[in-house]
């Protein structure tokens, strides 16, 4: 029922978005924790930098990624020479582009969740002998789990739709980076490709809705477990 092109685009989108969230969420959690609980000079600056991909045009972000992480980029050259890692024109590069674009959304969701954790509980944990890191891992993180989930789903949904930064950074490579949005774009540029593009659009919508539904169910289950049987 689905053409090979469509199957490949769906597979790539799901894989790339999955990796983007897997790799980006831990970083988002760390940044959210620093921004939520840290008191240091430059905190607002860090906050601003984290939000840049949200307010810059995606193509600009893609171009910046090229400058930094391309084969001749500031960091990319070292990555290639020292570690043999290439990000330009690769699946991994597409995941990085998606992760960068999704990061602000994930950080925001996680930060809100961390800030809503009762600091009295964290204080109690400290008096019981838990270091700051231990408090974070055993108290703060578990209690902000619903927010983490929301952040992950937001990040996943954003990655599914990522286009501008990806195509600028890694271009469109069949089998590696030709995700659903890029495939849809390509089809709309070809005369007579509208029908196929519409099909892929419908698939994208179904995927996004499925992700949102799954997150709703999981969030509710998590909420129930935390608050006990009295959770309404």
């Amino acid at each position: 029922m689905l053409t090979p092109l469509e199957i490949e685009a769906i597979r790539l989108s799901l894989e790339i978005s999955g990796w983007a969230v897997l790799g980006g969420l831990p970083i988002a959690i760390l940044l959210a924790w620093i921004l939520a609980r840290g008191r240091f000079v430059g905190r607002n600056l860090l906050d601003g930098i984290v939000h840049l991909p949200l307010v810059l045009p995606p193509v600009v972000v893609g171009y910046l990624l090229l400058v930094l992480l391309g084969r001749n980029g500031v960091i990319g050259a070292w990555l290639h020479d020292a570690l043999g890692i290439t990000l330009a024109f690769t699946f991994q590069g597409a995941a990085v582009a998606s992760a960068v674009m999704a990061l602000p959304l994930m950080v925001r969701a996680v930060r809100l969740s961390i800030e809503s954790v009762d600091r009295g509980l964290e204080a109690a944990a400290a008096t019981l002998g838990a270091s700051r890191l231990s408090v974070f891992l055993t108290v703060t993180l578990p209690l902000s789990a619903p927010g983490l989930l929301a952040g992950a789903v937001l990040g996943f949904a954003r990655s599914l739709g990522e286009f501008g930064a990806t195509i600028t950074f890694v271009s469109s490579i069949p089998g590696q980076t030709r995700t659903l949005p890029i495939a849809i774009y390509g089809l709309t540029q070809v005369p007579g490709g509208e029908a196929a593009a519409a099909r892929l659009c419908a698939i994208s919508i179904v995927l996004a809705l499925a992700a949102l539904l799954a997150s709703e169910i999981l969030a509710r289950r998590l909420g129930r477990r935390l608050a006990g049987p009295h959770f309404a």
Binding site: R71, F89, S171, S172, G186, T188, Q189, V190
Partner: protein, 259 residues
């Protein structure tokens, strides 16, 4: 008195909007293929300097521009990098009849970054393209829809090299994106127009594709149906005039035998 003062900002806004509308009516929007960016900018400036009118150009891949015109974009003049997309609009009756002509020609070249150690080659059937690429990729406009990419595929096909490199392509949204990849050294080689290679100081021409390896690269120009203002007509004639021809030649475009 206070009520008038409260209504004043709205009144000013309304006046500004009317003024803006009347101003935009005097502008002519020109949709031109990405490869003509620098040349058309210069020609538009000359047009404005001669007080013949205000030109607002938009550049992108011809496929993107054609689609936008199809969906009602307010372009007055369309300059496409291949016949296919002009045919596309003509079939949909979106071109003003009798205004189409071939304006420019171009050549297809193989480029490398300035700092590359590649040697100049004579491009012919079976030249060692795959070896020259090594483990790198070949930057092209997307062969599915970007004219420069379509020409590149045709040429590689004709020279028997398509199978070797079809899995090693880096397909950009338009030819300028492909050029950018080579300029930044992200890919060792790329296929772009001769005009793009001339325009960029960061790449050099490794070789030129023989004219018979691809369909002739022709840039048709026409007026968009429903937007045939006097200024648009004037700009179309200006584009065909000697001053514009000189500018195009400066940027490396080939002339077309006048039809």
């Amino acid at each position: 008195m206070r009520r008038i003062a409260a209504r004043l900002p709205v009144a000013i806004l309304a006046v500004l909007l009317v003024l803006a509308a009347s101003v935009t009516r005097a502008e002519t929007s020109v949709y031109a293929a990405a490869s003509t960016t620098d040349a058309v900018n210069e020609i538009a400036a000359a047009f404005a300097a001669k007080k013949l009118g205000l030109i607002v150009p938009s550049y992108d891949s011809s496929s993107t521009l054609a689609k936008q015109i199809e969906h009602g974009a307010p372009a007055g003049v369309f300059l496409s990098a291949d016949e296919q997309w002009m045919d596309y609009l003509e079939q949909k009756k979106l071109i003003a009849p009798g205004t189409r002509s071939d304006l420019l020609g171009n050549a297809l070249v193989l480029i490398a970054p300035k700092a590359s150690s590649a040697a100049a080659v004579q491009i012919g059937p079976g030249f060692p393209l795959a070896k020259m690429l090594g483990d790198g990729r070949l930057s092209v406009g997307d062969p599915a829809h970007v004219p420069a990419g379509i020409y590149a595929k045709a040429a590689l096909d004709k020279l028997g090299l398509w199978d070797q490199v079809k899995d090693k392509l880096a397909a950009g949204q338009n030819v300028r994106a492909a050029l950018n990849f080579v300029e930044r050294g992200e890919t060792p080689l790329g296929i772009v127009y001769a005009t793009d290679a001339i325009a960029s100081a960061k790449v050099w021409e490794v070789g030129i594709f023989p004219e018979d390896s691809h369909p002739p690269i022709l840039y048709p120009v026409a007026l968009v149906a429903g937007h045939e203002t006097p200024e648009a007509h004037a700009f179309l004639e200006f584009l065909k005039g000697s001053e514009a021809r000189a500018v195009f030649a400066k940027y490396g475009f080939r002339p077309v035998l006048t039809n």
